[in-house]
């Protein structure tokens, strides 16, 4: 080892042999990672056992495949509240309201959890609250809120707004911490008052980040809203899970097709808008 260091420290360019001899050797690190992963896998394997297919497993798998290839077109283009378009509209509506309310609620939280602005202990308390909100899974939030609002789409809206706070706050805090405060000094020097400093010094720096975060979260919320229906909080999930339980595979296929198309469209649009925001 000593010899390699000596060669690296010398001023002359290395010969090929010397460069090859002084290449980084990380085999022990890789072996360690492999050993740890193998040990974890061995431990995990202890309680995950393949007990064969369920008694109707094959028929169900065939049914799913069939349903996906031949979705129920009547349901797919049905404009009544049971039809796919209305269910999708409701899912998106839940996500829109949930994201907007969550995005607004997150603003005070993130300013209070940023230790550049408030004293350290206040920031720590609010960070703990945000972590707590984030840890409770959205399904549990939905089940708790159902006791308040009853099983309807409004429950989904409230659930999404609370769940969004956690992640949105995390990204808002990053945006706030990245603010360039030198701009405020130069605005001060040119005689701006407090309001002008916020309007021209702070808002232009954080608003694109905030909007980009909210749009990103909207993506996630649409996906979340499709599963909230499982517990009765509105959206397409309720109808989907009912059809799955009663083995009506062509209807399942119709709902899934609608969902896939919706998510792909939303993902394409949100990526476009966000890349536009990032480039200015």
């Amino acid at each position: 080892m000593g010899k390699t260091k000596q060669i690296l420290n010398s001023d002359r360019p290395l010969t090929i042999e010397e460069a090859y001899a002084s290449r980084p050797r990380l085999w022990w690190l890789y072996t360690l990672i492999l050993l740890i992963v193998a040990a974890l896998l061995g431990w995990s394997g202890t309680s995950i056992t393949f007990k064969g297919l369920a008694t109707k497993g094959i028929t169900i798998a065939q049914g799913v495949g069939n349903g996906l290839i031949h979705p129920d077109t009547g349901l797919l283009f049905n404009l009544t509240p049971e039809g796919v378009p209305y269910q999708l509209l409701q899912t998106v509506a839940i996500a829109v309201l949930g994201t907007i309310i969550g995005g607004i609620l997150a603003i005070p939280f993130s300013f209070l959890a940023c230790d550049k602005i408030v004293p350290k202990w206040v920031a720590v308390i609010f960070r703990a609250v945000i972590l707590g909100i984030r840890t409770i899974p959205s399904l549990v939030w939905a089940l708790v809120w159902i006791r308040v609002t009853g099983p309807n789409a409004f429950c989904g809206v409230v659930t999404e707004s609370v769940c969004s706070i956690g992640m949105i706050c995390k990204m808002y805090i990053n945006a706030i911490e990245d603010i360039d405060t030198k701009i405020l000094e130069s605005l001060d020097a040119s005689g701006c008052n407090g309001f002008q400093k916020i309007r021209y010094g702070i808002l232009p720096q954080i608003i694109p980040n905030f909007i980009s975060t909210v749009i990103y979260r909207f993506d996630i919320n649409v996906k979340d809203a499709t599963t909230l229906g499982i517990v009765g909080a509105g959206g397409i999930g309720a109808a989907l899970i009912q059809c799955m339980n009663s083995s009506r595979w062509s209807m399942v296929g119709a709902y899934l097709c609608g969902m896939v198309v919706l998510m792909v469209v939303i993902e394409i649009f949100s990526t476009r808008i966000r890349s536009k925001l990032a480039r200015g």
Partner: protein, 291 residues
């Protein structure tokens, strides 16, 4: 063919063709155009979308004000966890911890297998390595469809096909991890420096050898960091899979909410909180080391 000039290539936005931009003449005789602001239009569209969404979802703030005390009551009980699940009562403790370990095991197993399967697919679906456009786009569309399916729905399918239990949950997590890691990986494979690859090829190495010695060292740290990230996400996801019968903490969550036993629910959530906290911090530490 004549090349288009920059001016001709610039297409005037639709809005500026309908409402002409204001023309300002500068003191030196030049003119500049000031297009009208987009903000009012965006605000109107957003307000309309909000109005429609509120109509569709039956938004009613009164309910929260009138019945909000219910939430306070439930949260109050959740925040007084039932300590008999942490050593107070042997049967309860065993029940909680076996479910907790099932959740952790499911997510570790699922992350490792899913991430391993994702690597070759990610390589095949990155445009700088695989020049075959049909394969690339076929794989990308497949990955996109996999990512749009919610984990709970995949778990429900798996539970119907493989029977209730941890195996179904592991399958769901494998599928989910596969979709996410493969997508993140092909995006970062496309940004690597291909110079080393070409140099190795020019020495006479075949495609696989040059990929192994020129590209793998570049993507390995990113790959490991994505694996850790997916493990973080999977712990959260695995916790609720039990709700559709796929093993882990979700079974307990479902049971306790059904019985309205919110103190025990609090105990489950506390255990989950501790595990998520430990795993997130460990993985964030490791990811910082990797980058």
């Amino acid at each position: 063919m004549k090349k288009k000039t920059a001016e001709a290539a610039y297409k005037t936005p639709l809005l500026d063709r309908i409402i002409k931009p204001r023309v300002i003449t500068l003191p030196n005789g030049h003119t500049v155009q000031k297009p009208i602001s987009r903000t009012p239009f965006i605000v109107v569209i957003v307000l309309a979308v909000i109005y429609i969404s509120a109509k569709v979802t039956g938004f009613d703030f009164g309910i929260i004000i009138n019945r909000g005390y219910q939430l306070g009551y439930i949260l109050g009980r959740i925040f007084q966890p039932n300590w008999s699940y942490f050593g107070g009562d042997a049967a309860n403790t065993a029940k909680l911890f076996s479910a907790l370990f099932d959740t952790i095991k499911m997510s570790i197993m699922g992350s490792v297998i899913g991430a391993t399967l994702a690597l070759p697919i990610a390589v095949l679906s990155s445009t700088n390595i695989n020049k075959n456009g049909v394969v690339v786009w076929g794989l990308r569309i497949l990955l996109m469809i996999i990512r749009t399916l919610p984990t709970l729905i995949i778990a429900k399918f798996a539970a119907l096909i493989f029977g209730l239990g941890t195996f179904a949950g592991t399958m769901a997590i494998i599928v989910f991890t596969f979709g996410v890691v493969a997508k993140m990986m092909y995006e970062s494979i496309e940004t690597i420096d291909m110079g080393a690859f070409e140099a190795t090829e020019s020495f006479g190495a075949n495609k696989f050898q040059s990929f192994w010695s020129a590209c793998i060292p570049q993507i390995l740290p990113t790959y490991l960091s994505y694996c850790l990230y997916s493990l973080e996400m999977n712990i959260r996801a695995a916790a609720i899979l039990g709700y559709v019968g796929a093993g882990g903490l979700g079974i307990l969550i479902n049971e306790f909410i059904g019985w309205r036993d919110y103190e025990s629910l609090g105990a489950v959530l506390l255990a989950l909180f501790v595990v998520v906290f430990i795993i997130e911090n460990t993985s964030q530490y490791l990811r910082k080391k990797l980058s």
